[in-house]
Structure formats: C-alpha cells, structure tokens
Amino acid sequence: MGVAVEVSGLTKSFGSQNIWSDVTLTLPPGEISVLLGPSGTGKSVFLKSLVGLLKPEKGSIVISDTDIVTCGEHKLYEIRKLFGVLFQDGALFGSMNLFDNIAFPLREHTTKSESEVKSIVLEKMDMVGLQGAEGKLPGEISGGMRKRAGLARALVLDPEIILFDEPDSGLDPVRVAYLNQLIVDLNAQIDATFLIVTHDIGTARTVPDNLGLLFRRNLVMFGPREQLLTSQEPVVRQFLNGRREGPIGMSEEKDVAQVEAEIAALEARGGDSHNGVGPKGASGGEAVPPQLTPTEGLPERRGERRRQERVARMLHEFDETTQAAIRKSLPEHLLAQSDAGAFQPTRGAGGRHWAPEPDATPMGSTATAVLPRQDGEG
C-alpha cells in the first residue's frame, strides 16, 4: 500500500513573491489525486517541495513519520527513495540510452547483478509499452516515448508515491488517453499513492479519486472528485468548464464587478451547459463522468476500495449534489452503514477524515489524518 503524504500549512515564497500560502491537504495512500491550477500558480513548485527540491518557509510535509521540510539531508535522500517522479519532459539523462537511463537507479542504489537489473528494466519497459527501444537515446525518440521512459525510470525502485508533472503536456489527445489508462493500470498494479499535476480537464474528470485546485496563492479546494466536479465555487466552475467568464484572468486576477457582470451574461446565455465544449477536455455542466477503470485482466484497484470506505464515512458532510454523485459510486452495504450512522466522523478540522481499511494494520500517524475543507473561505 502506498504511503500517505500529509501537507499542512505549507507556505512558499521566492524573495518577496509569495507563491502559495497555508496549503493543507492529505494525499490518501494508494489513491490517485489530481492537482489543478491556472498556469503560474506554483503547481510545479508544489511538486518540487514535496520531494524536498525546494524548501518551503512554513508548514510541514509528513511522509512516513518524517517531516521533510525540517529533516536533514541524509534523511531526505532516504525518503526520496520512496518517490518516483515523472518530470515534464521525462528528464532522461541525455548521454545514456533508455536502458541505462532506466537501470540507473538500480545500479546506483542496489547491488543487483546485471542480469537481475536487465530483467527488472525490461519488465518496467514492458509495463509502459517501450519494448524494443532499449538502445535508443532520449534525443532520438518522441515526446510521448520520453515521458513513458521517464515513467519507467520512476517505477524501477518500486516507489510508494509517484508524482506526475503535467503528463499530458505536448501529447495528442489519443496519447493522453493511453497515458491516463496507463496511470490507472499502474495504480491497480502497484497500489502506490499518485499525484498528478495537470491542466487537462479531461484527465481531471476521469482519472483521479481526489481533486484539488490551486488559485490565488491558495488551495481553493481539495477533496473527493465528486466534491470539485459538482462544486458551485466560481473558480472551480470556471476552471472545470474552461471558460473566460469567472475570477481567473489572463494574467492577473479580475475585479469583482467585472466577474459578476461576466457571470450574469453567462447565466443569461443559459449557463455552463449552454456553453458547449471548452479547450483541454473541458465540457459544460457539472456532470460527474465515470472514473477510468483498470484494463480487463488487471487486479481491481485497492485504493478505490479504501476510498469508498473513506468517502462513505464522510458522506453526510457534503452538500446535496455532491452526496448524490458520491452515492452513485458507492456499493450498497457502505451506503447502508453510512445512512445508519455507523460511521463516527472524527472531530477535527472540517470533520473530513479518512481511515485505513478496518482489517489493515494501523499505520501510526496516518490513522487520524484529516482532509481539509475550505468551505469557510472564498
């Protein structure tokens, strides 16, 4: 099972420029989360902070009982072995061929024999569909292949947490669809915690278990996918519908009066459902499309099971539309338990919580982690 990442009160600035402040969220173990946000809201900075490449000024990031914001260099390198990161362009080592690139972490960190290394590398290349490309140099292959090779390298040490920095950038929609399926399949196979940073609304609507949105130097919302997909929060609605009308401006924020005028004009035209199809997979309305499922023949996602239980526990804290959407995704017995009041919500910030599987061994600090709710703001 993957490892939970608990971020609380995280603040990062470059010089006098604040990137985001007071970001609090928990990535539940083994689930897929997507972080959305307009360009320049520091999504990549957030990813880099998670792996300790950048040091936030305030707050904590706790991963298996270690706060990586304050821990020492040595400990940080140990924690990083839990991570697999897919960088935007794959970040392959230009001087090595694909095989050596993917074998690199194994050769550096393990004492495996060359034949063992070979079998692991070929297995991972097979997983991402790169059979037969071992001898190619990163400069000789397409962007999509580079991303998949970067993914294979990220997978080679069997990470517990995998971070994706815009896996869809520079790929055509068909390749994005394949990559999304690959992400879901991988999650089913290795049950690691996934965080995807993206602009692609299609990905955000269909892939993740949890969705978050960064805007105006804040985490606007983070929660189960249904919560954002049915949210009436203007920023969330604007982003998921890919329209100009709303608080997000081209370069800076808009003033309130202008936003109100735009929204009124939009409503007069018939609202989002009238607005048609936006760019990057954005579509009108607030429908919650079915989530991608692993390819036939693969095991079912254990993360999904845990999520159902977790969401059922906090079902009654959502508003009506969100509840209705979540109900559709939950099996009967969990719904019955939830409605019978069998679940006691943990007292904590916002009351949102998740708990490990009842039969799983308690994982120390992760058992009482709290999902933040930001409905008091904005």
């Binding site: 600035s13 010089g15 006098s16 420029q17 604040n18 402040s21 880099k48 792996v51 490449l53 390198y77 140990e78 990083r80 072995k81 991570f83 990161v85 960088f87 935007q88 362009d89 970040a91 392959l92 080592f93 230009g94 690199f104 972490p105 550096e108 960190h109 970067g150 390298r153 040490l157 105006r216 130097r217 804040n218």
Partner: protein, 271 residues
C-alpha cells in the same frame, strides 16, 4: 485574503542591487565548496565518471595549452634575450627563462586553459543538465549530484591541471630554447648549462601545487555555476560566462597569495 498578507509588487531594484548580495553569493559558493570537500571521501567513489571526465577535460585542454605554451615560452625568451644582451648577461638567459616559465608562466597558462576550456565545458555540461531537469531527477532518485557529478569533475580538473602544468613547463622551456638558440643566435651550451643556475626543484613543486589548487578552484566554480544555472538556454550561456570570469579573477588573486607565501617559505637559490 486580507490586505496585510498581500504580496508586494516586485520593485525595480528588488534584491538585485542589495549591498549584501555579493556576500550572499560568495557565501553560497564557499558553502558549495565545503559540500564538495565533504563529499570527497564519500563512498562509492565514481571511478568511471572520474576517468571519463579526466579524459574529457584533457581532450579539450591539451591542444590549446600546447599552442598557448609555445608562444608564451617564446615571448619570455625574446624579452629575456634582448634584456640580457643589454645587461651583458647572455649566459643567464637560459636560467632566467626556465625560472620565468616554471614559476609563473606555466601555472598562469594552466589557469587560463583550465578555467577557459575545461571549466567552461564542465559548466556548460552541468548547466544543460540542470535546465533539462536531469539534476532534479537525479536528486529525486536519491543520488547526490555533488557526489555523483561534481566530485569526479573537480578531481578530474585537479589531475588534468597538474598534468597540464608539466606539459606547459616542458613545451614552454622548449619553445624558449628554440627561439633563443635558433632565432636569436644564442649559444646552446650556455643556455643549457645555466638551466639550474637559478631554478631549483622547489620551484617545480610549487608550480605543481599552484596548478592543483587552480584545478580545484576552476572545478568548483564551474560546477557551482553550472548547477545553479536557470532561465533556459540563455541562463546556461550566462552561467558559463560568469564561471570563466569568476574563475579568472579568483585564480589570479590566489596566484598572487601563493607566490607571496612561496617566497616566504623557500629561499631563492644562492642565498
């Protein structure tokens, strides 16, 4: 969001011309140097990378060094040739020429080439890796770029600097001999006989020590600038430029200090 925590708009001079900025930059460079030195004894030592880098640095510096060393030796020989004739001390031309090449010309030429050819190549290589996220990727894979990339490069620069210094001494002296004897009509016997009149073996060791330290400085500055390159391809270009300039300034300053120390420690011959 309240007005108080709203970030200020960046000003024109925002941090750029702060009086403490040079201090911060030098401090970072020094901290980086300490990190590198601390990583030197760490296992596993990257022997493969070290050999590759030594070969690489040597291959970009040997030819230019030889080509610079010949005219350098010649200039010294020409200057000394006419000077000694004016003073009536032709028999000491060889002695003075060797002394000048060994003590000063050779470490300076080595410094120029190690910084200009070797350092710039190291900086460009690391800078390109940095902007392609390769360095970040390496750190995320739990591998310290300082240990994996910088240490072998710094050691390679040091080794090559020592070897280059030997090369420059030989080529420079040979160039001086050629110009003095063949072109200026000096006597070969007198030139060779006076070789060890002023120079001593300590001069050679001092020269090699200088080269070793120059290699260390050039390697560290180039790696530091390369690993801190930012802002796309232009950032790499800027980093290479800065690395060469900073290395030159540091090397000439260090050369002055080392020479002063040398004269305090080793008495000149014949005293």
């Amino acid at each position: 969001m309240t007005a108080t925590d709203k970030p200020k708009a960046p000003g024109l001079l925002d941090g750029k011309f702060s009086p403490t900025r040079p201090l911060a930059v030098s401090g970072n460079l020094f901290a980086f140097a300490l990190d590198v030195i601390r990583a030197l004894p760490k296992r596993p030592f990257q022997i493969r990378e070290f050999i590759q880098q030594t070969w690489f640095v040597a291959s970009v510096t040997i030819l230019p060094t030889a080509l610079v060393a010949i005219p350098f030796g010649a200039i010294i020989a020409l200057q000394l040739g006419s000077l000694t004739r004016q003073l009536g001390a032709q028999s000491f031309t060889g002695a003075a020429s060797v002394l000048a090449v060994l003590r000063e010309a050779s470490p300076i030429v080595t410094a120029l080439l190690i910084a200009g050819a070797g350092g710039s190549a190291i900086c460009a290589d690391l800078g390109a890796r940095k902007i392609r996220d390769e360095i970040d990727a390496m750190e995320v894979l739990g591998i310290s770029p300082i240990q994996r990339l910088v240490v072998p490069r710094v050691l390679a620069a040091m080794l090559v600097a020592v070897l280059l210094n030997g090369l420059v001494s030989v080529v420079g002296t040979a160039g001086g001999y050629f110009f003095n004897v063949v072109l200026q009509g000096g006597t070969p016997g007198a030139y060779l006989a006076s070789f060890s009149a002023l120079a001593q073996i300590e001069d050679f060791w001092a020269s090699e020590t200088k080269a070793l330290i120059f290699g260390l400085i050039a390697g560290i500055v180039a790696s530091y600038k390369g690993l801190n390159a930012g802002g796309g391809p232009k950032g790499v270009g800027d980093a290479v430029n800065q690395s060469v300039v900073i290395t030159f300034i540091l090397l000439f300053a260090v050369n002055l200090v080392l020479t002063a120390i040398y004269f305090q420690l080793v008495p000149p011959k014949g005293q």
